[in-house]
C-alpha cells in the first residue's frame, strides 16, 4: 500500500517562544526547527504499516527551501521519497488542505497520515479539511491505550489495523472520557495523537541513504491552487504574566490564604 505522510517544519517544542515587541510575529533568532512531533509519529506509523503490508511511504511538506530538511529527516527514518510544495509566505488551512488534495490526487495513496495538529499554530484542522475536500473518511486522534513507554505496549492491540483484504483501516481514537474505535474504508485520512507510537531515530546509514532519495518539487501554481489566505493574524502578544506568588511557611498559613484571601475553600 501507498501511504502519504505530512512533515511540517516547526520550531523545536523545547524552545522558548518570544513575541516580537511590535506583535508582528515571534522572534526567530536562535530557534531550532524540527519536523512537527505529531507528523513524526505519522511517519513512524506509515513505516510500520508498510513493513507489514509492503508498499511505500511518501512524505510531503509545504514551505520554502528549508523544509527539505524535514523531508530529509523523514527519508532518513525510512520514507521512500518526498514531495516538496515550494511556497513562501503565510498559508491557512484552506490553502494547505487544497494543496494536499492536489498532491493526493496525483499520488493516489491508500492512506494519508497527518499529525493531529502542528505545535506552532495549534489549529488541529488540516486532516479534517483534507478528508472533506477528498470526500474520504477520517479518523482523528489515533492513539493507544497505554503510554508509549509502558511495559504493556508489546502486548496491546495496535491502534491502526489494516484489514486482511486491504480495503479498510480500523482506528482507535483517543476522545474525551474514553476510546472510540472506528473503521474507515480506504482510502482514508488518519491523524495521529501523541501516544500512538515512539518514532525511531534516523540511523547513520539511513541518513546517508536519504541524501540520494528523490524530492519532487511542486508549486501552488503547478497544482493550480489559489493560496490567498482567508485568515489574517493581526497581532501576537505574550499571555498576561501571572503575578509573582508567595511561599507560605506551613499548611495552616496556606489554608488561611486559600480561605480568606483567594476564597476558594
Amino acid at each position: 500500500m501507498k501511504i502519504l505522510v505530512t512533515a511540517k517544519r516547526v520550531e523545536d517544542p523545547e524552545s522558548k517562544i518570544k513575541v516580537k515587541p511590535d506583535g508582528s510575529g515571534i522572534v526567530q533568532e536562535g530557534l531550532k526547527y524540527k519536523i512537527n512531533p505529531f507528523d513524526e509519529i505519522g511517519v513512524e506509523e506509515g513505516l510500520r504499516l508498510v513493513a507489514k503490508h509492503q508498499g511505500e511511504v511518501v512524505v510531503v511538506s509545504i514551505g520554502g527551501k528549508e523544509v527539505q530538511e524535514q523531508l530529509r529527516h523523514a527519508l532518513a527514518m525510512g520514507a521512500h521519497r518526498a514531495v516538496w510544495v515550494n511556497h513562501t509566505g503565510p498559508l491557512d488551512q484552506l490553502a494547505i488542505a487544497g494543496l494536499l488534495q492536489k498532491v493526493v490526487e496525483k499520488e493516489k495513496p491508500d492512506l494519508v497520515i497527518l499529525g493531529k495538529q502542528s505545535i506552532d499554530d495549534d489549529q488541529n484542522q488540516v486532516g479534517q479539511y483534507l478528508a472533506e475536500f477528498l470526500g474520504w473518511g477520517q479518523a482523528t486522534f489515533a492513539s493507544k491505550v497505554e503510554s508509549a513507554e509502558s511495559e504493556q505496549e508489546k502486548n496491546k492491540v495496535p491502534a491502526l489495523v489494516v484489514s486482511a483484504d486491504g480495503k479498510s483501516v480500523r482506528v482507535i481514537r483517543e476522545v474525551d472520557n474514553g476510546l472510540a474505535t472506528v473503521e474507515c474504508q480506504l482510502p482514508a485520512v488518519v491523524t495521529t495523537d501523541l501516544r500512538l507510537n515512539q518514532p525511531r531515530y534516523a540511523s547513520l546509514p539511513g541518513i546517508m541513504k536519504a541524501k540520494s532519495k528523490p524530492i519532487e518539487e511542486l508549486t501552488p501554481a503547478k497544482l493550480a491552487v489559489d493560496v490567498t489566505p482567508a485568515i489574517q493574524v493581526l497581532k501576537m502578544s505574550a499571555p498576561p504574566a501571572r503575578k509573582a506568588g508567595i511561599k507560605v511557611a506551613d499548611v495552616p498559613a496556606l489554608v488561611e490564604k486559600l480561605h480568606n484571601e483567594a476564597k476558594v475553600v
Binding site: 517562544i17 484552506l94 473518511g137 499571555p239 501571572r242 476558594v264
Partner: protein, 320 residues
C-alpha cells in the same frame, strides 16, 4: 442581522455535554458584540430531551434534527447535516466547544462550507461586522488576534474561558430534517473510562500529582475526594504508566482552568504549564524550592507532598 449558531454536544449516554453551556455563554457574548442573534443546533438519533434542557439558555431558537443514521457521532455524517442547517439559517458564525468532538467535527464542517476556522477561541474582540478572535498558539505561549475573512466563520471555544449560560428566556424549539449522507466510516465501539470524580475540564478544583508522587496517588485522590475535585497528572506520570493518560494536564493532554489548581510534586515543565496556567488560583507543593512551578503559583509550600497533603486535609476539615 448576523446569526450566531452554537452546536450542542450529547454525551455517548445521551446527556448534554456540560461544555456546551459554556459555548452557549460564549455565543451570547459574540451575538451581543456582533449585534446579532443566537441560535443553537442539535442533531442525533434522539436529541429531543436535551433540546428541552437548552430552551432556557437565552437563545432565540433551538434547532433539533433527528435521524437514526446519526445515532453514533461521526464527523462524516454530522457535518453534512449541520452544513445544510447553517446554509438554511444563513448563519454567519458557527461555533462549538473545543471538546474532542468539536475538534473533530468543526474543521470538517468548515471545509464543507469553504469557511476559515479558528481553534480554541478564548475571547472575541471588536464589534459589529468587525469581530476578531483571540486564540492561543505555541502551546499557550503566544496569544494571537486573528481575523477570518470568509463569509461564514467557524470556531471552537475554550470552554473554561467562558461562563456557562444559565436561565434566560424560553427558546423556541424547531425541528428540521437533517440531510443524511452515506458514510465511509463506521462506528465500531466506545469504551468509557469511568470515574466517580468530576471531569478534569469541568471541575472547579483540580488536584494534580507529578513525579514527586513516585506513582503513589492515594493522598492526591483523598484530597480530591475531600474537595469534590478532579484528579490530574503531569505527562511524566502518565508516560510512566502510573496513572491513565486521560488524567494528563498539559499541552499534549487536557487544558484546564479551575478556580483552584493544586500541583503536588510537579516541577512545572512548559508542557504542563501550558495546560493549567489559566487556573484562577494555583497552589504548588514541591520539595525543590527552585522548581519552575513556583513561578506561576499564587501560593507555594516547599515541603514533601506526603507530609503536606494529610496536614492540608486535616486543616481543611477544620473549616467545615
Amino acid at each position: 442581522m448576523p446569526t450566531v449558531l452554537i452546536i450542542a454536544e450529547q454525551q455517548p449516554d445521551g446527556s448534554l455535554r456540560k461544555a456546551t453551556l459554556n459555548a452557549i455563554g460564549a455565543g451570547k457574548q459574540l451575538a451581543e458584540k456582533a449585534g446579532g442573534e443566537l441560535h443553537i443546533a442539535l442533531v442525533g438519533k434522539d436529541p429531543a430531551k436535551v433540546a428541552d434542557e437548552l430552551k432556557g439558555t437565552g437563545a432565540k431558537a433551538v434547532h433539533v434534527g433527528a435521524a437514526p443514521e446519526l445515532e453514533h457521532y461521526l464527523a462524516e455524517t454530522y457535518a453534512p447535516a449541520l452544513a445544510a442547517l447553517v446554509q438554511e439559517l444563513k448563519a454567519d458564525y458557527v461555533g462549538m466547544a473545543s471538546t474532542a468532538q468539536g475538534k473533530d467535527l468543526m474543521p470538517r464542517l468548515a471545509a464543507r462550507l469553504r469557511a476559515a476556522m479558528a481553534t480554541d477561541v478564548m475571547a472575541f474582540n471588536g464589534g459589529g461586522a468587525d469581530i476578531t478572535f483571540t486564540r492561543p498558539m505555541w502551546a499557550g505561549n503566544v496569544f494571537a488576534e486573528v481575523k477570518l475573512t470568509t463569509p461564514v466563520k467557524v470556531f471552537t471555544l475554550r470552554a473554561t474561558e467562558f461562563t456557562a449560560a444559565a436561565g434566560g428566556g424560553s427558546a423556541e424549539v424547531k425541528t428540521f430534517t437533517p440531510k443524511v449522507e452515506a458514510s465511509k466510516t463506521k462506528f465500531v465501539d466506545f469504551k468509557e473510562v469511568k470515574s466517580a470524580r468530576p471531569e478534569l475540564t469541568e471541575a472547579r478544583v483540580v488536584v494534580s500529582g507529578g513525579r514527586g508522587t513516585k506513582g503513589d496517588f492515594k493522598e492526591i485522590e483523598a484530597l480530591a475526594d475531600d474537595l469534590g475535585a478532579a484528579v490530574g497528572a503531569s505527562r511524566a506520570v502518565c508516560d510512566a504508566g502510573w496513572v491513565p493518560n486521560d488524567l494528563q494536564v498539559g499541552q499534549t493532554g487536557k487544558v484546564v482552568a479551575p478556580a483552584l489548581y493544586i500541583a503536588a510534586g510537579i516541577s512545572g515543565a512548559i508542557q504542563h504549564l501550558a495546560g493549567m496556567k489559566s487556573s484562577k488560583t494555583i497552589v504548588a507543593i514541591n520539595k525543590d524550592p527552585e522548581a519552575p512551578i513556583f513561578q506561576v503559583a499564587d501560593y507555594g509550600i516547599v515541603a514533601d507532598l506526603f507530609k503536606v497533603l494529610p496536614e492540608l486535609r486535616a486543616e481543611l476539615g477544620k473549616l467545615k
